[in-house]
Symmetry: C2
Subunit: 287 residues, 2 copies
Amino acid sequence: MDIREYLESKRRIVDDALKKYFINRNLFFEVMHYSLERGKRIRPILAIASYEANGGKDIKEILPIACGLELIHTYSLIHDDLPAMDNDDYRRGRESAHKKFGEAIAILSGDGLFAYAFELLTEGDNLIEEKYRVVREVAKTVGPNGIVYGQFLDIQEYSRPNPKILRQIHYNKTAQFIALSIKVGAIIARADEKIIDTLTRAGIYLGILFQYTDDILDIVGKKEELGKTPQKDLKNKKITAPLVYGMDSARFRAQRYAQLARGIFTQLGARFEVFNQLTDFILNRTY
Amino acid sequence: MDIREYLESKRRIVDDALKKYFINRNLFFEVMHYSLERGKRIRPILAIASYEANGGKDIKEILPIACGLELIHTYSLIHDDLPAMDNDDYRRGRESAHKKFGEAIAILSGDGLFAYAFELLTEGDNLIEEKYRVVREVAKTVGPNGIVYGQFLDIQEYSRPNPKILRQIHYNKTAQFIALSIKVGAIIARADEKIIDTLTRAGIYLGILFQYTDDILDIVGKKEELGKTPQKDLKNKKITAPLVYGMDSARFRAQRYAQLARGIFTQLGARFEVFNQLTDFILNRTY
């Protein structure tokens, strides 16, 4: 299997599903959809991959939830890009929401995507116990004990870079949500609790790897490939892996996190092989 | 029963529960709790009143959900008050979140309260079917087909005031959420579907009444009593009931909505008498 082909085919499935949820509704849905377009869809793809690796046979079971994760990710990008936050006018290869529609509409777009995500998480009357659990897991991961807390830490000023703070930011801002994406796929596929736990642990390593490469790409990435402004962390004096460890050490540590994730995925058996490839893809990504 | 005593005793129960969810956690919880303090708690009280009127016996069943509604209401106030939105430095009798903590923290506080609300809605492993339904109802009501859409309409500029737009704004921004508060109380008390529907219909009238009095108080209210800045709608050129109908007509229409709500509550029987009193309280409120 070619991992790029795999990603591309899944991305198309996610994009089509997203369109279904946003097209031919009121004007405000069009506004929200603008920010949603052109994403890599990493989180929904992880959810689908996990659902399928865990024996899930009906992609319609996981698709609304996978889309919900992308809505939440996009909402967090919109709010992060606001002038009061990271102040970035460029996202996913074009003007960010506040640049395109103004600040008020951008704030509301984020709020709307966030709320609508929970509609998608509770679509349909099947798998109610599993989806109730998913709602709770999602709420915990994206709230004041997860992403929002990571953002809160991220915008503080620190007198000196420090591995403990870096770890807290990476864990809360990114790793928990990446791990969650894999976890919800396993929950909806009714995987064993032990497998769910093990996958979540691997997901945390994968998520920290993801943020390491993000931090590194902020320095070495190209604007056209990234679709967002590089050297923004530098400008905003963010605590990043290269800042704390230096570039060489940051690269080395990224490889180490990839190994840790791969170790667990390999142990889980051949049906999780796609996760090894996804791990390598994330390690070597240029966007 | 004295309705003010009733409101006061319920308010205290809600405040105590909220404290439990926010005290002795990380610094960010304290920041969020600042905005949460000093609310009237109308929505959680409606949820509790509905739960009890529908025969609910264990307030612990409804309390986390009632608190969740207050978190969502508070998040929407924080985001509304932002400079890019209604730009109000004063809320609940003191500095609003962005004035106190800066814009970035205010945005994140709103986001955090919103996410945390869904944690409270899914607290515990009891009543899973009912709570799954509550999550879906809440998501629909507060998202791009509800509150956020109401806000989106509210910040547009209109060439002339017009009853249809006013109705859409009132319905989406306020009435659906007031009705929802009553509805979730009934759902958690396992009320009959017919009663749930009837109560929701009355809740819409009550919610429109609530926004009428809000619009009227923006003109005639006192800052000390309101705890927020009066004449803000005027300044922000908002479409309000007095603007569309004139003050006398707006007052008359508010009374008419109160009558409509009372008519339904009365028909439902004596155990819903408290809702008649709540309706009168909202009609005559000065804050």
